[in-house]
């Protein structure tokens, strides 16, 4: 274990990069990408696989081969009932009480429904789940999720699959200032520089899928994100300098006494 682990619900992880397992060309490419990402946690969706009958078992076996902690999600669920049912099924299939909770409110941009999300969160926590909620960057929603018992928040950078990066930096910074719990930017990232920026802001980890899976070379892109996430984390820990209005040469200019400066 390194000396800067990510701790979620009491469990420590070396990697701050959570990777999705959908959309790859093949299971082998998914495995190669997870390895290149050096991820410790991978997410997986079951909604359309007829999970009650275990029909996705052979694909899930490939996901288990990653050796990572599995974080089932409720992608594709549009109501509290659907999400809760799928979470219950995931717990049974994968023997984990962790759930990445998604309740989708809009079909086109897959925006989370904050009202249904909060309701489903309360219900799942009452049933002893450890909920990792995929939420918007709304402060009040996040407050209520924490009050409901979430020990991690996963606000979006931008809508799922858009690759637009951190659309609302003000809101994301506010969340970082207001919450001590781990914060993970989930969804909307397209470039490693955007992941680095989230980490520089003090976010604890990054979760993404499309930006890696839909790259022309997914394992290479996974490695790029892993490097950016490490760089962003190091930058945050080392303390970014404050930006200034004026230029200041890093080498003193000889022969220019400071009282000659004009404003």
């Amino acid at each position: 274990m390194n000396n800067d682990p990510l701790t979620l619900y009491g469990q420590s992880f070396n990697s701050r990069f959570l990777l999705g397992t959908a959309l790859y060309e093949s299971p082998q490419q998914m495995l190669d990408s997870v390895a290149a990402a050096r991820a410790d946690i991978v997410t997986l969706g079951l909604r359309r696989q007829n999970p009650a009958r275990g029909d996705g078992e052979r694909f899930w076996q490939h996901i288990r081969e990653t050796g990572c902690t599995l974080l089932p999600n409720t992608a594709g669920c549009k109501s509290v009932k659907e999400a809760v049912n799928l979470a219950l099924m995931s717990r049974e299939i994968f023997a984990t009480d962790w759930i990445k909770l998604e309740v989708i409110g809009d079909d086109y941009n897959l925006q989370p429904d904050p009202f249904a999300l909060l309701e489903a969160t309360r219900e799942l926590i009452a049933q002893d789940f450890k909920v990792l909620p995929y939420c918007t960057d709304d402060l009040i929603l996040c407050q209520k999720l924490v009050e409901a018992g979430c020990e991690v928040l996963m606000p979006w950078g931008a809508p799922i699959g858009t690759g637009r990066g951190l659309l609302n930096r003000y809101a994301l910074r506010t969340l970082r200032q207001r919450f001590d719990c781990p914060l993970i930017v989930d969804a909307g990232l397209g470039a490693p520089s955007q992941a680095a920026e989230a980490m520089e802001m003090g976010y604890d980890a990054v979760l993404l899928n499309t930006a890696v899976a839909k790259a022309q070379n997914p394992p290479l892109m996974a490695r790029a994100f892993a490097g950016a996430i490490d760089a962003g984390r190091d930058a945050y820990l080392s303390g970014l300098m404050q930006t200034r209005q004026t230029a200041s040469p890093s080498t003193p200019t000889i022969g220019q006494p400071f009282w000659h400066q004009t404003s």
């Binding site: 082998q28 359309r48 696989q49 029909d55 996705g56 052979r58 694909f59 699959g161 022309q216």
Partner: protein
Amino acid sequence: MNPTFSPLLPADSGAHIGIAGAGLLGQLLAWQLSMKGFQVSLFDAASASSPNSAAHTAAGMLAPISEAAVAGPEVYTMGLYGLKRWQTWLGQLGPQASQCFHRQGSLLVAHPQDECELQQFLADTRCLNNEPDCAINSLNQAQLQQLEPDLSQQFRSGLLLEPEGHLDNREILEYLRQVLQSNKVAYHEQTPVEVAPYTLKAINTAQQWRFDLVIDCRGAGARHSNRGLRGVRGETLHLQTTEVHFIRPVRLMHPRYQLYVVPKPDHRFVIGATQIESEDTSPISVQSSLELSSAVYTLAPAFAEARILEAGVNLRPAFSDNLPQCFSRPGLLTANGLFRHGYLLAPAFVDHLLAQISQSAPSPFASYLPTHHHYDEPVYE
């Protein structure tokens, strides 16, 4: 690690070959081997009158560029070979079969708000730019209308993938069945079998058959005896309408769905296909039928009054890299994993397998289609 390779059978030996699985691969191999003078017996779990193969459910697209965009350049090379080979093969099957081959390209369109999907497609296929015959042309609204007048006018731009085509696949399967009959291939329908070197055993009776070589091409049907193989669910709709005429496949690029419509004889269309990582073979879901029908409605609103003749569900057989593989040991050749590229890659795969069987000529695809020998053969449970 591999032992020295030797042909599985000498050519023209009159040897008896048993093939398990009468899907596309099984039928094509039976045809080609019977033409070479081998005695061939073909076994299938389903009846010939209601086939259950993925080849029957498939839309029969020959789309080397579109498929390479999601699978890699080797699929383009083998697919282009497949396009040429199909033309030759169908010529050999007769003038009627020749009519089942269509090569007028295929169209890619996206809603105006999703036009970045076309740019993404161009980026995903950039690695093919220097490949032979890889012509991708950008089209404006007028050019789209000229090519397919019934296409909705909302599409302002699109791409024409010139080398692509499609097959009237169900008709071809029927012509293949006829030629197998006249070539005296013994066809054992409704006979599910267990596969072993030199032997096929009926699952439901005590009967068993000995051969000089057994070829296992059961597709997803072999997944219970091969741990590396999985089924990937696909769903299609078969529509019929006289109100829409398309002469080439049209693909709708959407951020989450990539669905296509392929014209078929008799005013039919196949709309396909979902791709779900599940071995579920239960009937089509409401979600999938909504996706498929709204895609087709978007392409041409006149599809609204088309009749749904059939909703197909089947499993694509796939290995972990989603590319075909073969495994060879004395008395048994296993060939599987054509995934979503059955018609496109079957010719390259069949010619590769024929080269393994008789070693008449080296396979041109040996580097793409590695043969696994006994050290890494599939694990039979």
